[in-house]
Symmetry: C2
Subunit: 318 residues, 2 copies
């Protein structure tokens, strides 16, 4: 069993690669553009190159004994294929096999949200917990489940799709084509969309001001900045998102009775108000038995949750 | 390892006990009234007596090597206590230990909905499936999760509470004090309540007729009978319940990606319309990845789901 492994967090825009030792300490990191438009083969070559690069910057004589990689789509546990990764334009890509042949070491692949959950579980906020739900609130809302100490995949690797939980059957249209999904109510995109609608209707001026007067620059953090300045419209947006998030988490904890919910993703930086409203609604909506042993905490690894999950996976696969 | 075990399905009104051989074949069954009002000790004595009775009717010389029992409340996996069983008036009752001392054989206890799931998984509709959700639609709505081949309990034994998933935040009041829970929209009680409200408002005459003119006799099956006769009000009640159920199942399968959902409970006998509306809404609301490998089927063991789960548990504990 070698001392070093590599982890890759493959996203639609960036490839984030690191070299780690057997305690999970990162020795070198690199970020390059994915260039998804160049096609799957080019992306896989780029990944192999970043792995070689972190090995080289780790000093001479560094060989890895395994590679872990997170991909932005479900991996079918039966076939090992990336069924579908819309952000990469991939369908049925055997990423694991190609990389294994190229690099000559065992390659372990999983969905990126599952690996973010694993990363937090092994190295972050969830260390030592048996049942944990990781939720990422970003442009979309996704998640990963650690149940009885392991990543839970479901029958075809699609488990953990928290973002499309129906919260309000008559709510706003979601990117999935349905109405009132959690993602359509509480994601960063949902908050920004609502703010832009206000601006289009001639309101939302405080939010627009925080975006430098350009509606296209509005995001969850702009809304948060306006709310921090006391703007009522921005406060309403954050509160409604927090409420929807609390309802979604209540459904989740009633069903899975986890010891821990870890919340990550850029939109969770939209400030205290979002968090407080979420917690309040969760307490109102969840059953006493589910709340009793529950903690809800922010992710500890920030942008490295997925990368550290890839490292954890590689360490298991040595 | 002995050839025989006993299983007990302990309910708020009935104690259902059976003797089974090591293949799960039932050799004797008995049902007695729980008499919960007499207190915990009396109920436990009654259980011990029913076990002796099924052993005796199984022929002379029948000794059991283990007892499995399902109780109507969560069992804390850490303490083994029945935390709370409102239907029995129990709190922190060490049912497992008392029965073990009385009967002198290993006693294995679990929540009744979990055991109904296990019964269907081992002997019924879910045989051979790795990830399965059991949902019971009765006076309330409950469920049990079989994940990666085992009952999933969560951190304090409270997992599987499907009934209090929020489906419509502004919907009708639930028995739990919250609004718009699945149970408040799609349980047998919810359907009956809505029919009674119609009657109280001077409508719902076809349903009232099927209940023999007595509003207090209205239940889900009365509504189903009126719907079968073409009554529009009854049809609406079934359709709305089916729709809520489909939404709840969509949330469930998006999150857990099971291979199978098994639907049991008396209210699922309310006919094709309930089932069809549920399936339709599930298909509209669930993600393609979650639907692809999913089957939704009726429970195969009827009233014996929980009992057979208790037998399965006992067989494991020999």
């Amino acid at each position: 069993m070698g001392k070093y492994v590599a982890g890759v967090d493959l996203g639609g825009t960036k490839i984030y690669t690191a070299l780690a030792d057997d305690s999970g300490r990162l020795l070198a990191e690199t970020i390059v553009a994915t260039g998804a438009g160049d096609g799957g083969e080019a992306v896989v070559r780029r990944i192999a190159a970043t792995v070689a690069e972190v090995c080289a910057s780790g000093g001479s004589g560094v060989d890895i004994s395994a590679l872990g990689i997170g991909v932005p789509g479900p991996i079918n546990p039966a076939t090992g294929l990336v069924d579908q990764a819309p952000n990469l334009g991939w369908r049925n890509v055997p990423v694991k096999e190609i990389l294994q042949q190229t690099l000559g070491v065992p390659v372990l692949a999983d969905n990126d949200a599952n690996l973010a959950a694993l990363g937090e579980h092994r190295f972050g906020a969830g260390a030592g917990v048996r049942n944990m739900v990781y939720v990422t609130v970003s442009t979309g809302i996704g998640g990963g489940l650690i149940l009885d100490g392991k990543i839970y995949h479901g029958v075809s690797g699609a488990a953990g799709e928290l973002g499309h939980m129906v919260i309000d059957p008559l709510g706003p249209l979601c990117s999935c084509g349905r109405r009132g999904c959690l993602e359509a109510l509480a994601s960063g995109t949902a908050m920004a969309n609502r703010a832009r609608e206000l601006v289009a209707a001639g309101c939302g001026q405080a939010i627009l001001h925080k975006a430098g007067g350009r509606a296209e620059n509005i995001d969850a953090l702009t809304v948060a900045a306006a709310a921090a300045g006391g703007d009522g419209e921005a406060i309403d947006i954050l509160k409604d998102a927090g409420k929807a998030l609390g309802m979604g988490l209540a459904n989740l904890v009633n069903l899975l009775n986890p010891a821990l919910v870890v919340l990550g993703g850029g939109a969770m930086n939209a400030g205290r108000l979002l968090w407080e409203t979420m917690e309040q609604e969760l307490k109102v909506r969840a059953l006493a038995a589910a709340l009793e042993n529950l903690r809800v905490v922010p992710a500890a690894l920030g942008k490295r949750s997925g990368l550290m999950g890839a490292v954890a996976l590689a360490l298991r696969g040595r």
